[in-house]
Symmetry: C2
Subunit: 431 residues, 2 copies
Amino acid sequence: MIRFYNANILMPDFSIKTGEVHTDGNKISYVGDPKQTDLNFETTVNLNGNLIMPAFKNAHTHSAMTFLRSYADDLPLQQWLFEKIFPMEAKLTPEDVYTLTKLAYAEYLTSGISACFDMYFYPESVSQAAIDTGFRTIMCGSVSGSDSKADIDSALSRLEKFYNTYKNFDKHGLVSYALGFHAEYTTSRPIMEGIAALAEQYKAPVSVHNSETAAEVAGCIERYGKTPTEIFCEIGIYKYGGAGFHCVHMTDNDLNLMKDRGCYVVTNPASNAKLASGIARLSDMSQMGVNLSIGTDGPSSNNALDFFREMYLACVLQKLLKNDAAAMPAEIILKAAFDGGAMGLNNANTIEAGNLADLTVIDLNQPNMQPQNAIVKNIVYSGSKQNIILTMINGKILYKDGEFMTLDTEKLYKEANGIIRRMANDNTNIQ
Amino acid sequence: MIRFYNANILMPDFSIKTGEVHTDGNKISYVGDPKQTDLNFETTVNLNGNLIMPAFKNAHTHSAMTFLRSYADDLPLQQWLFEKIFPMEAKLTPEDVYTLTKLAYAEYLTSGISACFDMYFYPESVSQAAIDTGFRTIMCGSVSGSDSKADIDSALSRLEKFYNTYKNFDKHGLVSYALGFHAEYTTSRPIMEGIAALAEQYKAPVSVHNSETAAEVAGCIERYGKTPTEIFCEIGIYKYGGAGFHCVHMTDNDLNLMKDRGCYVVTNPASNAKLASGIARLSDMSQMGVNLSIGTDGPSSNNALDFFREMYLACVLQKLLKNDAAAMPAEIILKAAFDGGAMGLNNANTIEAGNLADLTVIDLNQPNMQPQNAIVKNIVYSGSKQNIILTMINGKILYKDGEFMTLDTEKLYKEANGIIRRMANDNTNIQ
């Protein structure tokens, strides 16, 4: 049991309450006034008036792509992807993915992120990294392929195997798996139909890149006479919900389809800006009642895994898009940043007894948080990773005052640099 | 004399050199290979391989507006300005400005900023805050007014008095003053003509808000049949150079006029986004050879004083504007972020012997800086205030490992909150 006292607590209605938060095992056990207690706490933490709040949920990322951070910036999108990113990814080993995923976890912890919805390959490496770190990770299926029988069989059998291997959380409750695939433009109709059959069989949501670029939507319309969202819905991909990653180029009809199925739009504003993909219509989505979450996307495009950057962009790009400084109030974006629903994680969105103890602490005693005219606005419009002084996942403090409890970052930095050096010296694909 | 060793040094050509940086008084005295020396250093700092680079120059701000951080967000621009901001500013005392400016300095230091071009009132308060903190501040004239004789006389006499009082740096070389005024739309033609006469008399540059919003430009065209830049040039405002703050809505002709006069465009991307003013054409400006600097604008609009946010936005908004991921490479923006030329500060842009010792140190041993594929890209695309571990101004270390050497931040936070509480309880203007 852990006791946080002298806390300002961000309550579910975004009011601020002074008091205490206790955790027991992996859950929050008490939120309320300071109280005398004869409970035996293994740890007590004086928060000195700082703000305890839900941790951020990174609802779309490719964690292991840390190795390509700043590897190929300021290039045209297609050249970046096909000449720089894909050839390097082909050289990754399972051991690389383990190391590079842990490097991303270190960065998530510094940004107050407690969970990620991670689309990458080598799930056994990702799962091990998550368990060894104590980081909550919902892996998302990432299959793709042509309409050849070999591709169809491979994609569907791998997806179902991974799903059944990981879908029931590990004993720590940290790692799980959701049905998903890469995108319409990389996945044949027979594979998508097979995935829809898996969704039906398991009554499970499916998540996928959706309408990230204008070219992707145009290509889909050429192939099917429909948008990606329309073809997904026609095939049955979203029958049991799921998420669309990016969703930059969505029609009103697309958004209504998402809303009717309880699907999440996961926005990735930094990646969409840096790759010149466009600005998602978050204001419209919010007004239509579409579920919103936020993701960093992978560090090769973003390049940071920084939720303060994402939140700021998610707000201010709407103001530019709508030519209206009142568009997209900070509160809506902060709520989306806490929301794990896109990855099926619904019991860590608020600080309430019974919820998972996935928490972070904001240092209010920094110049950028002063004066305290409006703490929620301060977090979204003025906050920075500098303000994160503690991140707890599943009831365990994993990051505090710049120290990582479960990660040897010096070793990780060395290994990550070694991986990229090895690849640079290796001109053949080793996968 | 201070010795930084075990350093990675960001050289003027943006290569990285391993070695040492020494300072002597307020200047850099040595940059180069590690060397045995019998010099007596008062302080030696082991940088452990971290990156020493020029500090950022905040080329447009209203520092004391810290008190209105998060005071009135997500409102339409006019309502924000006239109902919320102006009435509160009218209640400021000189003592308030002293305190609130120091609060901004604390935030600048955490962001690696060594100097600001500060447009606000009560210059005696600002000057004292700068000297007491050791923060380099070029004050910029902020007069405005109608074409009444009283307004004209008041504006011109105040501006000339302040200019002559502060234009020759104080004995520490920290505080100076530049000619300037608020904006075309708040300043009558006779006042602008008087300022142009002062520019001629003193052979001095003049700096001013320029084309921040589309409405401002439309109004100017209605009044004069010319854009703000055109009318400034016609009157002689920019005859000896100067800066335009914001410059969001600039024609090609405007940019050519700026370029021909060696004027600086100071871009404020966060403020322009948050207030829905638009995206400045930085890519075009850069290609045309217009001088570029970066500013945070005041914390009431931004809301943070965070140069990592500004640099990221300055790059990625160009990619959105141009629909091209290759638009605006990081290097151009980092150079602009170091450039103090807009405020007449040209000897602190690079780490070179003889330049002012205005430096900052980036912690490379953080997950967001790893692996080190490209350090400059990492700084711009992945950096955060969390990476700033030291800021030196004028040869003095003012911020190190989260500690402020010349500021009592706890006292500042208390006073800043007291100021805003007093104002909230006071329904009359006290100025």
